[in-house]
Symmetry: C2
Subunit: 236 residues, 2 copies
């Protein structure tokens, strides 16, 4: 009854009770807990099943040979870690838990069966894939052409929207359980500079970040500061 993937999808497509039951069933089996800072999938691993995040935050990251880490995606509850798992490809990056994480393991066969029984499931997976790709593009644009403060503002807008869709936003307040070094690796900067930028967003009255909770004081202002155009996420 509490599947974040279903909550997300219901915003976009009309799900019948059987669709919901099918999607729910996928996420009930093989539930696993992963400690913070632990890998869910290692770099160059060859996953035979997909993971759906039920709780906690994870990230897709690449480690450069000299230790630099680039986080290329943030994975929130309701997100699918390995949308291509059924193709049995060797992945070129790792998936790591940023906080303690609860995931459901889903086998390719289960996905195949679900799609055959309920065509709407395929529709949902396509939407998921599209949204992920759109976010990738937006991140490239961000890291490439936005300034430090624009990047951070943009990310906060994105996360606010994504968390809202799975019912994890309490009004303008959303959980933000990641460390500043994590944010730095996601935005292509240093934790020191993240700290500076955060302070600037705070003193200009746009956000407050305390105790792993982000409160957006002025959403319009934040969106403007981050040149945020929400259409890329909506897919409607």
């Amino acid at each position: 009854m509490d599947n974040p993937f279903v909550r997300k999808m219901e915003r976009h497509v009309r799900l019948g009770p059987e669709d919901r039951a099918t999607l729910d069933g996928l996420a009930r089996q093989h539930v696993r807990h992963v400690a913070a800072r632990q890998d869910i999938e290692g770099q160059h691993s060859n996953p035979y099943h997909a993971h759906l995040i039920l709780d906690g935050w994870a990230c897709r990251y690449k480690q450069l040979p000299d230790g630099r880490r680039a986080i290329v995606a943030l994975l929130l509850p309701g997100d699918l870690c390995d949308p291509f798992a059924f193709r049995r490809v060797r992945i070129d990056h790792a998936i790591g838990a940023l906080t303690p994480v609860t995931v459901a393991r889903i086998t390719p066969d289960q996905i195949g069966d679900a799609i055959r029984d309920r065509p709407m499931v395929e529709e949902c997976l396509w939407r998921e894939l599209l949204a992920t790709t759109a976010i990738h593009r937006e991140w490239i644009a961000s890291v490439g052409r936005r300034s430090a403060i624009e990047r951070l503002a943009h990310l906060f807008c994105e996360l606010h929207l994504r968390l809202s869709r799975v019912g994890l936003a309490d009004g303008a307040t959303v959980p933000m359980p990641v460390t500043q070094p994590d944010l730095a690796d996601a935005l292509g900067q240093t934790s020191v500079h993240i700290n500076r930028t955060l302070k600037e967003l705070r003193t200009s009255g746009l956000v407050t970040l305390r105790g792993r909770l982000l409160t957006i004081r002025d959403l319009d202002g934040l969106m403007e500061r981050g040149l945020f155009d929400p259409t890329y996420l909506q897919l409607a």
Copy 2:
């Protein structure tokens, strides 16, 4: 007989003559020419058909409200511009020709028919989608965590490999028909700094770039300089 998409796919999957004929047929109809600096699809447009690049280079780009441009992908001969076209989504970016470009327009119906007749076509499309996604991730890591010279070296390695796959590399020499401002927008830098970095790559004997032709003098050295690990493109 000269379809770059087929040339690319044959590296990875075994195509029968009918597969080849089907893929070839897709690219024979509705061939269109687009001038350099012209859009193939505008930002926020709603493409009803996919485009396959037959000749020339294009890019996927986002324009920020104040005019900054971020190139989020380079599209080479054999690349598909709108792999999601059959989903009828409104795209969040534009596709522009960097050089004069020849494209084949493909309708969703044609793709559907082709997949139904020849299952291998679907396999090919999946591979294409996977490769594109892997490149996206690599670009995020590049812009986020690689230095200017590493980024440029990495891009040259990537392009060399991608162009080789469609038979457009003459040994260590590949066409490089884009301007330095274009490279700058793709790598998140300024054309001035691209110029500096290019000079550095030249003086260290790694590449020469003359008359829209890039020659790689020392591929191993270039790969090392760019922290380039080719596995992400192979998908085998």
